[in-house]
Amino acid sequence: MNPALAIEGLTYAYGPKVALRDVTFAVEAGQFCALLGPNGAGKSTLFSLLVRLLVARQGRIGVAGHDMARAPRAALAAMGVVFQRPTLDLDMTVLGNMRYFAALHGLSGRTAQQRIEAALEQLEMAERADELVRALNGGHRRRMEIARALIHAPRILLLDEPTVGLDAQSRRAITAHVHRLADDGVAVLWATHLVDEIAPEDAVVVLHQGEVLARQLAGELSGARPLADVFLEMTGAGQGA
């Protein structure tokens, strides 16, 4: 079977400034893969390419076997996305937001309703379905966005620094939720610069200045040392870079 996400030789530049250089890695079904990199490493550019807000001239992105360049719609349909910045309609209810998204993916009526309920249930948000999003706290808003990204049963879930701006408790809850989703079989690509969100059995792709420095299990990468130390050493952040 095709990997949920396969990135091969992806290179992207903003004019003369190279943001990504020959990025290659894959995420398998049921795998939680952390895309770890300091600010400015190219994570957001990579995300924009993955969701086709940008188009790369070099390299290939495959989502569940669909080539992003040749079959963008099939590729987009197979992915669920949680953007770094919230993409919510604050003046609509949770259900209203979910229905809007479902419709953008061609789902309506009973099918949409069932999938929405299941997704909210999965993120323990079912009882908030009728609340206005404006009334939700940051953690719940994020959980709603994750639930929303699951409505169309994607093969891979992409999350771009989903815990930014959340308190420690919400952060931990959301990290745990998404790890459980991976256990249930969804492939997860989780961009972050926070090592404490990564478990030893997670896959890690270390991205620094647009290049992949490492691609292995977190436990293997860190060895006996804390992952934070290894990460700082690799990216030079420890020397005040």
Partner: protein
């Protein structure tokens, strides 16, 4: 139901929901043309005589003359407002949800455009109803026959807004759009004065006004309201609509537009 229609409906519903939620926007959309109609036009009535020109078959008062132009003005402001909302959506991230949906981008943007035009048409009819209360009426059938014209004009002005939204990068730059798009378009058109009248003071301004897309939209609405065929304005409005939309699509194409989003 096909995925296309499901998405279209959801986008239209969201647009309508937004419009209903923003009562202030509706109010100002109505007050603006009413001020022109009931105050400005009343004052100008004595100063400006409008002779019999097609599609009118009799002498008309100035108030009657500017009604189609004010319908156009509502659609123009509405188009710009939708465009502003698009820039806002893009800054706030909501646009990403739309652009990453697994449907062709042209369809998603067209849905947005059509929904915006629909909201504009609702405002036009509300305005016409109030104008009728004040005794400014049109041929009864004209209200109905103007609908396709209003739709076409609304799509054209909305597509122009879409194009602007694809080039304006920040919300703050939007005030400039008001000054450089809305006002010249409105004043350099046949909305407030017939073009032959304008030619009396400047041939030059008349020529500019004659190619102004807004003039074609207003004339299309005017002729339709008076049950008169207007092939040339209809053709030009369609061409402008298609042109603006194609350019806007290029602006929103990830491979061409190269929009850098932080």
């Amino acid at each position: 139901m096909s995925a296309y229609l499901v998405a279209f409906q959801a986008i239209a519903r969201r647009e309508l929901h937004r419009f209903v939620a923003q009562r202030g926007r509706f109010l100002s959309a109505l007050v603006r043309p009413l001020v022109w109609l009931l105050i400005f036009a009343a004052g100008f009535r004595a100063a400006l005589g409008v002779s019999i020109i097609p599609p009118y078959q009799t002498y008309i008062t100035y108030e009657v003359y500017i009604v189609p132009g004010l319908c156009g003005m509502i659609l123009l402001f509405n188009g710009m407002q939708s465009s502003l909302a698009l820039v806002y959506d893009r800054e706030m991230g909501a646009m990403r949800l739309l652009l990453t949906a697994p449907l062709p981008r042209w369809w998603l943007l067209f849905a947005k455009l059509a929904a915006g035009a629909g909201v504009g048409i609702l405002q036009v009819y509300a305005f016409l109803a109030i104008a009728a209360v004040f005794g400014i009426t049109l041929p009864a059938l004209g209200y109905l026959l103007a609908l396709p014209a209003l739709a076409l004009a609304g799509l054209m002005l909305g597509a122009m807004g879409l194009l602007i939204s694809s080039t304006v990068r920040q919300l703050e730059n939007f005030a400039g759009v008001m000054n450089f798009v809305i006002f010249p378009m409105f004043f350099l058109s046949s909305a407030l004065y017939p073009l032959w009248k304008m030619a009396e003071s400047s041939e030059w301004l008349r020529d500019i006004s004659a190619v102004n897309p807004f003039t074609h939209a207003v004339e299309l609405i005017r002729f339709s309201l008076y049950l008169t065929a207007a092939p040339s304005p209809a053709l030009y409005t369609t061409l402008y609509a298609a042109g603006f939309f194609v350019l806007a699509l290029a602006g929103y194409n990830p491979a061409i537009g190269l929009r850098r989003e932080a």
